[in-house]
Subunit: 182 residues, 2 copies
DNA sequence: AGGCGTGGCTATTGACTATAGCCTAAAGCT
DNA sequence: AGCTTTAGGCTATAGTCAATAGCCACGCCT
């Protein structure tokens, strides 16, 4: 698992092949099946680890903060971690199989951190679900486009990220004061 | 190309194999190489088509509208088109090879529509670049998570999308009035 | 009639996932 | 001490894909 994680970060999740992993471990490719059921199962295991790690990173970043400040710290930690560990990050996006309790729990842990932070913005109940989706979408979309090389223009990408987070924070707090505009 | 597009929408871009496409066309797999250079080249061609189509869909949706209303219409059209044509949508995200003029132009066309709409919100110059990135990130992130099955909770996903767009619109206009919070 | 381009085809290679079935060495039992 | 089980390797092999090489037939244009 450790080797798989490292390899995924190095070569990208899509290039994490069992052949490459076996070679990395100095072992023949079929031997890996003594440890995993399938490539998909490997991805799932990596996902559980990565989601757990991400939840902890986010929780640490937001610890002791509240409101807009907490959101900004969380967002910054999210992007930093994702850029530092592209393989791990890619696998966190995988939705869990609803029957897989461990994976579901790991996914929920990430969502829980975000929800807690939004709570500190005063967003609760079913508003929190929608707000969490909005924030997650923005963060993930940015990462997806950034790592896909989607931001061609010379403007600073970090600056864009900070501004996006500010926009979302402003929108979330405005929405609270004004009700939900339609 | 037509068949490839249709197949991609039906089975998903990742399952658009040359073998399947050849079968669909009633032809042997190597014969396809008389028409395309590689699978990657096929993706690139599909991308140019899809980006062009998306730009036109977005332009139509936003035509005759301005301000927040235009953004909402554009966003709704984006999601609708993406959900209706998942294969086409997926290929839209591919960043163009900088040396591929056609692909670069098609990508720019999409960005141009978004930029025009943001202009009608009063966002211009280098602010527009950051705002475009923010809006695109949100829209794409939402679609990516939605199509990956990432929204497990029962809350209405369409409602989440509308709220996210409202949040971003509110954030963009607030940011204008208040300067850029940091 | 000759020449050529278009668009098929078979055969084959090489990367990859996955399965079947064999072997060995250490662990644990009696 | 001797037997058995199990963990973890291995080879061989099948099946799916993309991709290349090289062949052939048809139609068109001179």
């Amino acid at each position: 698992m450790d080797a798989a994680q490292r390899l995924a970060d190095e070569v990208g999740l899509e290039n994490l092949t069992l052949t490459a992993l076996a070679e990395d471990l100095g072992v023949r490719q079929p031997s890996l099946y003594k440890h995993i059921d399938s490539l998909d199962h490997l991805h799932r295991s990596l996902a559980v680890r990565a989601k757990t790690e991400l939840a902890s990173v986010l929780a640490t970043a937001a610890a002791g903060r509240a409101g807009p400040d907490a959101v900004r710290e969380l967002a910054a930690a999210y992007r930093e971690w994702g850029l530092a560990h592209p393989g791990r990050y890619a696998v966190t996006v995988r939705a869990p199989d609803p029957g897989d309790a461990q994976d579901v729990a790991a996914s929920a842990a990430v969502v829980a951190v975000v929800t807690r932070v939004l709570e500190s913005l005063g967003i609760v109940r079913e508003d929190a679900v929608h707000a969490t989706r909005a924030l997650r979408s923005s963060l993930h979309g940015f990462m997806a486009l950034e790592t896909a090389g989607g931001f061609g223009l010379p403007e600073d990408v970090g600056e864009s990220f900070r501004r996006m987070v500010d926009i979302v924070v402003a929108g979330l707090t405005t929405g609270l004061r004004a009700g939900h505009p339609r």
